[in-house]
């Protein structure tokens, strides 16, 4: 081992706000009125890691998704690899499922379509630029990880169980309580766990990069604006508490975790915008108040080896399938970072974390592969929005659309088991 083998890290960011927002609208929760503009800018962050001569990138972004079916995932990885020389399988992508971000054309006009092409190109070049900046700023570094539990609710379980055993969505997503029945309670746990990775230069006290991962599926409200929403607010808040540091934030797997019940929504747009901004600040503040004191100040190490595992379900999928699953894991000493699909239910994520052989495992969800909810089996029997079309058949019938995203009853469990298999193998190799 030489000092050259010891960990180096660098960090970079880039703006990915759509240049012509009025011609676009955020995807997810279709908007009913024309898009007005941008409440706060969208951003991508990249952390470059190099140890033992191997390099990897960890990326986080304000986006809802990376649109695998439109080739964005592959295009991103290809262009980052070409620019930085990094093995494409060590480029970990993630989004946060923020429903005020990833754009689509507001209508079918040529202008709107051109604006969408421009916005998507800005997203892709933003990722490349952030990674390039991170690579350029590589410097000797040490890392430490911690886990904490939020003191006040931020992400709550959005499903409730009725007295007849069936499930309904609560908070903002499809609630109804019929006569003769009552609510038993939430269908699963709220999201409290936050994993924190701090990166600093040896001999210094303050980190220059902080990665937080938190299980959620953020969509405060379907406003006709682009915004970094809660994840953007978290990053602003963390950066104000750690001046000079770049905050990277990923939503881990939280298909059933929403941010809805904090306080009542308003009925009209000006008040809704005010409510939205206040909600972002309130939730970000709750998050940062717990997380900031838990950012590690000791226990730092300089690993001399970076190992990775990669899995794609491509050989088993039909061409262009939305079911394509990509798992991408990088490990440094006893810390593993996993890029994976994000709409797996929270309980499955907690199961994965509890069984991981690594002391600290970071789940970076919404990597653009395997879009769609993936709950644990009983949810298909309970019902609710996420599974209202029932489980997909075990084998697609002839002629089935490649874009089908309905999960099978075993989808989430298989992703968890496959991830654990890769983690175990990595642990053995590291």
């Amino acid at each position: 081992m030489t000092t050259q083998d010891l960990l180096q890290a660098g960090v970079g960011t880039a703006d990915i706000t759509p240049p012509r927002p009025e011609l676009l609208k955020p995807t997810g929760m279709g908007r009913l009125v024309p898009t007005r503009g941008v409440l706060d800018p969208l951003r991508v962050e990249a952390l470059a890691l190099r140890a033992g001569g191997e390099m990897a990138f960890i990326t986080t972004s304000d986006l809802r998704t990376l649109f695998t079916e439109h080739g964005m995932h592959e295009e991103l990885v290809r262009r980052i690899a070409r620019r930085t020389g990094c093995d494409s399988r060590r480029i970990l992508l993630s989004a946060v499922h923020n429903h005020c971000s990833s754009p689509e054309a507001a209508d079918s006009s040529r202008k709107a379509k051109a604006a969408l092409r421009e916005a998507n190109e800005k997203i892709i070049s933003g990722f490349v630029e952030a990674c390039a900046k991170a690579q350029e700023t590589l410097r000797p570094a040490e890392i430490a990880a911690a886990t904490t539990e939020l003191a006040s609710p931020v992400g709550v379980n959005r499903r409730m169980v009725l007295s007849n055993g069936t499930g309904i969505n609560c908070w903002g997503a499809g609630p109804i309580v019929p006569f003769g029945h009552w609510v038993v309670g939430p269908a699963g746990p709220d999201s409290r766990r936050v994993d924190i990775l701090a990166v600093r230069e040896p001999g210094t006290r303050t980190p220059f990069a902080i990665l937080t991962t938190y299980h959620s599926h953020p969509h405060l409200y379907e406003l006709p604006y682009f915004s970094g929403e809660f994840p953007g607010g978290v990053k602003r808040r963390m950066e104000s508490l750690f001046p000079g540091a770049v905050s990277l934030h990923a939503s881990a797997v939280g298909g059933d975790i929403d941010l809805h019940t904090v306080h009542p929504k308003q009925d009209y747009e000006p008040q809704q915008v005010k409510w939205f901004r206040e909600s972002v600040e309130l939730l970000s503040d709750r998050f940062a108040r717990t997380v900031a004191p838990a950012v590690p100040t000791d226990g730092f190490a300089r690993p001399d080896r970076l190992v990775h595992e990669y899995y794609t379900s491509k050989p088993q999928e039909s061409p262009g399938s939305s079911r394509l699953t990509i798992l991408n894991i990088v490990a440094l000493a006893d810390i593993a970072l996993v890029s994976m699909p994000g709409e797996i239910f929270h309980t499955c994520g907690l199961d994965l974390l509890s069984r991981s052989p690594f002391s600290h495992t970071f789940l970076l969800g919404y990597n653009g592969s395997r879009e769609g909810y993936a709950p644990y089996p009983i949810v298909f029997e309970q019902g609710s929005y996420e599974v209202m079309r029932g489980p997909a058949p075990d084998v697609d019938p002839p002629g089935a659309s490649a874009y089908g995203v309905r999960a099978r009853t075993w989808t989430a469990q298989r992703i968890v088991e496959k991830t654990l298999e890769l983690l175990v193998r990595l642990k053995q190799n590291s």
Partner: protein, 340 residues
Amino acid sequence: MTVNPLDMLIAGLLADDVLVRADAARLLGLTGRKEAVAPLAAYVAECRHCTKTAGIEALARIGDRSVCGVLRRIAEWPNVPDDWYWFFHRGVRAAACVALLSLGDDAGAGYLGELADRKHDVFYAWFAPAILRLKRRSPAVTALKARLTVEALTGEGAGRTRFTNPGTAAMVAEALGLINSDEARTHLRKLAQHQSRYVRAAAAVALVSGGGRRAEREFVAEMAERDRTDFVRIKAAYALAQAGEHNRAQALARFAGSVEDPFDLATTVDALGQLGRREFLPHVRKHLNHQDPYVRQRCVEAMERLGASVRDARKKLNDPDQRVRLSAAQFLVLREARKG
């Protein structure tokens, strides 16, 4: 200082937790006490969460027509966020309309008719049983009930997810049980094969509601014996016991001693309470301190029906879970009323 249990229930309407507020409303409705009407009316007018339908149902159950003005306003403007994509507005409005109809006010019929015109699941699934249970025979009620045919509930007009989503499928099963025609029973037999245990259970109960014919009882008996889940076996046994097969009640009592899943256990305890046979009290009481608060809550409510002593309820006024405490308060209110 002794707390008045009715005051405790009314205070529950002001709790921070929307589920506690809804439970307080449900329990107040079951007491039938007129003193609850004004606080319930304030709750349903002020609360901005869909769970306030529990308060609307409670007002309908108490039957005081002085709240019709409040309910009419909610039927027009439900004071919940207008989540156009979902059910918030529609569900609360429909609840107010059904409550109005049960109170003898036809003001809600128009909106329910609109939902029916749109073949909406709020009408054809979520509130179909409540509409079919309306006792009044006004032209408006009769017209709405007439729209809830087996064909309308199950035919081509049914929304694409009505039967794939277990939530709506279970409500349709309940409605078909109330219709109770040959055609309805044929559909219920299909729903008894649903992938969801909760839909199968709803179908089992619906098939023998009102006693059921021999063929249906045999069909449900098969479910009680052979379904792969405890939940369906519990509900099927309960349905048969309700239909007069007393040996099935013993099976339920055995379940109370063997099932491990808290929700299944709570369902069993609830079923034993519904049967109202005092001999089952020990099977229920032994779970009164279960670690799951929902099991404890179902125990308290079942024990009231089974004639337990007020001593048990008083102890539960100090339960760590507020919803259990509210059920204990309701127990005392009901017992006081019976004594009076």
